[in-house]
Every structure is written in structure tokens, then in C-alpha cells.
Amino acid sequence: MKNKVFTGLIMFVVVVLLAVGFYTTNTFAKDKIVVGMARPLSGPMATIGDSAFKPIYDTWTDEVNAQGGIYVKEYGKKLPIELLIYDDKGDLGTMTRLTEKLIVKDKVDFLWPSCGTAFVFAQAPIANKHGYVLITAEGGATHVKDMLPSLPYVFVSLSFSDWYQIPVLAELLGEKGAKTAYITFRADLFGIEYSGVAGIEFPKHGIEIIGLNSVPPETKDFAPIIKKAKASGADVFCAFGYPDLVLPATGTSMALDYNPKAWIGGPAVNFGFYHTTFGPAAEGVLGFTTFACSQSKAAQTLCDKLYKGKPEEINDWWGHPLYWAGLECWKQAIEKAGTLDQKVIREVLATEKFNTVLGPTWFENGLMAKECHTGEIGQWQKGIFEVVGPTKNATAKFVYPKSIWPAPPKK
């Protein structure tokens, strides 16, 4: 009996769900701007998506809607933003399908980006094909520069390796007299690219790369790598990877008393959770960044908006301001265009300058111009991720060599 009830129940649920799929059609009157996104709400990419672009679009959308929305001249009124978010499960095939659905079936007004460099590569051509403006968030790579000329509708907001970061790092280290570097990188697009660009830029400043190895994802044992790096006696240790590499590599470095003169890690060091994890021991560790609160009034305002009264873990000093600026550009482009016509907005985005948290901001050949960046290299100093490079944007002096790891606080 129970069996039958349950069986009936499953059938019922399935049928209802299928019916829901058939009968709810998405018809939007023009009293709002519908923005569609395929985001990794579940699956392996969720970790990145949840801490990178999500807090930004949530806060930003709330703020804009609190002001009534975006003024569009064509309609003579402010239109609030409505988000239509699908879960791509971190699966590329699903993401491309959902992007297609957002554009073709749901006919959303705008598309916001999916998460991850590979996803950018796959989504950009689709958006471009349909003539949808796409300002990317998480993800960017040298490769994308070669693609952009053929993708006029795509704009890249995030800074990346040779787009200023590694050259600045090399220069900083070179100036201080670093001679050798040991690089370990995650075996993926990100790692290959950063280690590759380092291979070009470091020698320009007299730094020889004396160790280079890739680490596949899900590697758990970092002791042999740290031991090898320690034995090499390199001045600089680079861990170009994600938190799953950078955090254990830091912990292992501390435990094995490995104290290179500079310790630089990929996306992980720039997050608040890096500091909350290691506390004062994070002192002197280098990472990639974009801004510090003390840099400008606009920066301070953004810090307050995003981080005030929230746990420090969610801070992201690299991506957040760039995504925020990207959204500001998008809003201002709509206002300047006075229409929701993608073609017109694209023209505005490609040619005009906007005023964002970064100051004057514009896109050059589809990339956010180098001149707009307010920082590239950061360093933890007294609990703050200070901008130390390029020197013109620095909020603190680059400390080299970094102090040795302190003993962790006794509990």
C-alpha cells in the first residue's frame, strides 16, 4: 500500500514538473530589464561562482533597483532589473544550452556572464552570434585577446597574466634583486598561462626560473613540491593555482619552514578567507589585486557597500571591483544609448568612457584598458591586502624579503 502511494507520488511530482515546463511561458512587458545568466549554482564551479561574481551582481542589482532601475530614454522611465538565473551545474554543455535558451526562448534583454575562463570561451561566440553584449566576469586569458577582434559584442573586465599583472610582478621582484624563481602551477588554462607569461617576463628582469612543475587538480600532497622548492633555494616561490592549491601549499610551506624571499599565490591570496585562515602568518604573502579601500573615496564607498558588517571571508580584492566596474559601464552605456538595442549599446561600450569605481573606465579592443586598472599586485601587510604594484597605484611599499612565517598563535 505504502509502496503504491509513493509510486503515485513520484509520478505526480514528475507530471507536475513536466506540466510546469510546458505551461509557464515567459512573456515580459517592457516594464523591466530582464537579465539572464547561466551560473554554476551546483557542481564543482559553484565554489568560484559563489564568491566571485555572485556577491557583486546581488549587491549591485539591489542598489540599482533601490534607485528605481536604469533610465532608458526610449521608454521615458526607469526600468528595474530582473534577474533570470539558471543553474548550469558547472557543465559546459549545459551552459551553452542555457545561454541559447535565455537568448532564443526567453528572449532576455541582456546576458550576464557565466563563470570560468573555459566558459567564457564557449559563451562568447554564442552571445556574439546573436548580437548580445557580453561583459565577462570570472575568466580571462591571453588567448581571449586573439579572439576578441572577431567577437565585437564581447568585453572582458578581469585583468589577467600579460594584461599587466605578471610584467608588474616581474618588475617589482627584479628591482628588489630577486634572481631565481620556483614555479608550481595548476595544470589548467590558468596555470599554463601564468607560468608561461612568467617564463617570458621574469628573465626580462634578471630572474631565472630554476624550477617549474604542473600540479593536476585534486592533488592532495604538496610536501614533496615544497621540499623540492626549498632545496632549490629560489628567491621567489610562485603557486599559480586556485585555493585548493594555494591554501595547502601555504600551510605546507609554513609547516616545513620554507621561507623564500617572496611567496606569491594565484586566486586565493586576494580573498579575505586567506587572511582569516592564516591570520598574522599571511604577512608579506603576494597575490593579484585590483584595489585597496584606502586608494580613493570611490574605493572606500565600494568597500563599505560590499564588505561592511559582513565576515571578512567574502572579501575579494582582485575580481570584485572589476566586475562592479563592468556592471557600471553596462548601466551607463544603456543610459547613454537611451535604448535597449544591443547594437547601439555595443557601439557606446566600444567607443565611450565611463565613470566607475576605478575612475574613468573604458574598453580597448574589447579589454578593459590597462590604464583603468588601479592595481595589479597586492601584499598582505598588517591584515590589509595593500596594493604594492604598479608603484603609481601603490598604497604601501613592497616588502622584500618577506618576514619568515611566524609560529601560529598558540591556542
Binding site: 551546483s42 561562482g49 592532495k220 621540499k227 595547502p248 585562515t277
Partner: protein, 289 residues
């Protein structure tokens, strides 16, 4: 050279302890209850998050937390078996059908648990630092948190081993593992024993999660990664042997450590290669019958 080699082997052993701990619970669940629990990693994840939350909010020592999270997960595991898997067992004509179905059911569980965890804790990275200091062993340094993990892995498993060897319940479990039908005839309440085993598996997973969270960042989506490690280790050691889990864990740890020292890019390739070769040469694992 020899010291370097020793050094590598010892750090491999330390990793092996972690691997063994990850796998021991699964070996119990499969060895006795015949459930190849794909959601094993989700239990590890819950254990890890329990530890993290208690440490961050109340400052509870992660090692103490083991005693809190363990029993909770034991109960969850116990009742999961009592409801879900017991019904599956009753509906299955043969052991093989039950194995297939329970594997898929646990795959569904993975989805459910992970989604609930994301709803509660979000999907972002959590991390804290505990015992990140080196311990000097004859001139070479080793991370203390990994040594603690290895120590606990050995202590917990030894305790469990003794429990299996000398208590009435332990004997019932072993009897059930060897032959459920006959054990049933001998008056062992078989369903109770299987549920207990599943519960103990979840308890071990919780311990593993708690200890892991001292060494690695944790996320609500990390489960599958650890399930895969557990499966590799358990297959290496023999699907139904607790000692086998240790042998599998140490083997994986040492091979991984050596390969990582030579060429880190090949570490994961080496794991899967040993795994696949062993399955071909000795499908029942090193200690399997």
C-alpha cells in the same frame, strides 16, 4: 639521497594515513552492508563543516569536535540504512542487484545532501589553520596536522578493529560480513547489524572530514573528490578489509609522494594507473579474498 628518499616515504606515509581514514568508512559500508556509497564524500563534507563551524564560532578544538560530529553522523547513517537501504534490500532479488541499486540510490543521496549543504552553508571556500607547524623528525620537518591525522587514523581504526575482534556486536558484524544468510540463521539481527555498520561508516567519514579540514580548504561541493579517493584506496586494499584500507592508503600515499617528487603533473595519473593495473591483476585487492 637516502635521507631525501626516506623523507619522501615518510611524507607519503602521512598522506597515506589521511587516505586510509577517508577510505575506512567506505570499506565498512561496502564490506559488510554491500553499499558502494557514492555519497560517502558528502558525509566527509558534513564532518568537515561541523568541525569548521564549531571552530570558527565557538572556538572548539577540531579534535574535540570529532566526538560531537561523529555520533550525529552515526545516527544519520544508521537511520538512512534503516529506511532507504533496508527497503532496497527487501526489493532486490540478488546481492548484485542490491549493489547496483544501492550505488545509484547513494548517487541520488549525493545530490540531496550536497544541495542541502549548499543551501545552509553556501558554496564558497571555507578554511582555517590548525597545527600548521613543523615537527622535526631526525632533521626533516613534517607537518604536525598531518601527523595528528595519521595518529588518529591509526587510533580510531585500532579501536574499531578491537571492537570488531572482541565485542559481541563486533563478532556479529564480522559474521554478517562473511555470510549474511548464515549469520541471520545464527540469531544475528542482520538488519540491525547492517544498519550499525552503515552508521559506523558515516561516523568514520565524519572523523575523516574533521581531520581533513585541518589540512585542506573545504567546500560543500568537495564530496565527490573524496569519494573517488576512498574508492581507489578501498579497491587497492581489498573492498572488505579495514587493514586493507590502510595498506591501500599507504601504498597510494607513498607512490603519490614519490611521483609528486619526480613529476607532480603525473601524480593523479599514477593513482589511477596503479588502481587500474591492480584491478586487472588482482581484482579483489591486495588483501581481498
Amino acid at each position: 639521497m637516502i635521507t631525501t628518499f626516506l623523507d619522501i616515504v615518510i611524507s607519503g606515509l602521512l598522506m597515506g594515513g589521511i587516505y586510509a581514514l577517508i577510505a575506512v568508512g567506505l570499506s565498512l559500508q561496502y564490506g559488510v552492508a554491500r553499499v558502494l556509497n557514492i555519497s560517502h564524500g558528502e558525509f566527509i563534507m558534513i564532518g568537515a563543516f561541523g568541525t569548521y563551524i564549531l571552530y570558527k564560532t565557538a572556538g572548539v578544538n577540531p579534535i574535540l569536535t570529532l566526538a560531537i560530529c561523529g555520533p550525529v553522523l552515526f545516527l544519520i547513517g544508521f537511520f538512512l540504512y534503516k529506511t532507504l537501504f533496508k527497503i532496497l534490500l527487501a526489493f532486490s532479488d540478488s546481492a548484485e542487484i542490491f549493489e547496483g541499486k544501492s550505488l545509484l540510490a547513494s548517487f541520488g543521496l549525493l545530490f540531496i545532501i550536497q544541495n542541502i549543504a549548499i543551501l545552509i552553508w553556501g558554496a564558497d571556500i571555507k578554511s582555517y589553520s590548525f597545527l600548521n607547524i613543523g615537527v622535526d623528525l631526525g632533521g626533516a620537518l613534517f607537518p604536525a596536522n598531518r601527523m595528528v591525522t595519521l595518529l588518529f587514523a591509526v587510533v580510531i581504526s585500532m579501536t574499531f578493529y578491537l571492537f570488531l575482534a572482541f565485542t559481541r556486536m563486533g563478532k556479529a558484524i564480522r559474521a554478517a560480513a562473511q555470510n549474511p544468510r548464515i549469520a541471520g540463521l545464527m540469531g544475528v539481527n542482520i538488519n540491525q547489524v547492517l544498519a550499525l555498520c552503515f552508521g559506523f561508516g558515516a561516523l568514520m567519514a565524519s572523523f575523516a572530514g574533521g581531520l581533513l579540514s585541518m589540512c585542506y580548504p573545504i567546500t560543500t561541493t568537495m564530496g565527490m573528490e573524496y569519494t573517488v579517493i576512498a574508492i581507489i584506496v578501498v579497491v587497492l586494499g581489498g573492498l572488505d578489509s579495514i587493514v586493507g584500507s590502510f595498506i591501500g592508503g599507504f601504498l597510494l600515499g607513498i607512490v603519490g609522494s614519490i611521483v609528486t617528487y619526480i613529476e607532480p603533473g603525473l601524480a593523479l595519473v599514477a593513482y589511477y594507473a596503479i588502481f587500474i593495473i591492480l584491478l586487472l591483476v588482482r581484482p579483489t585487492g591486495i588483501l581481498g579474498k
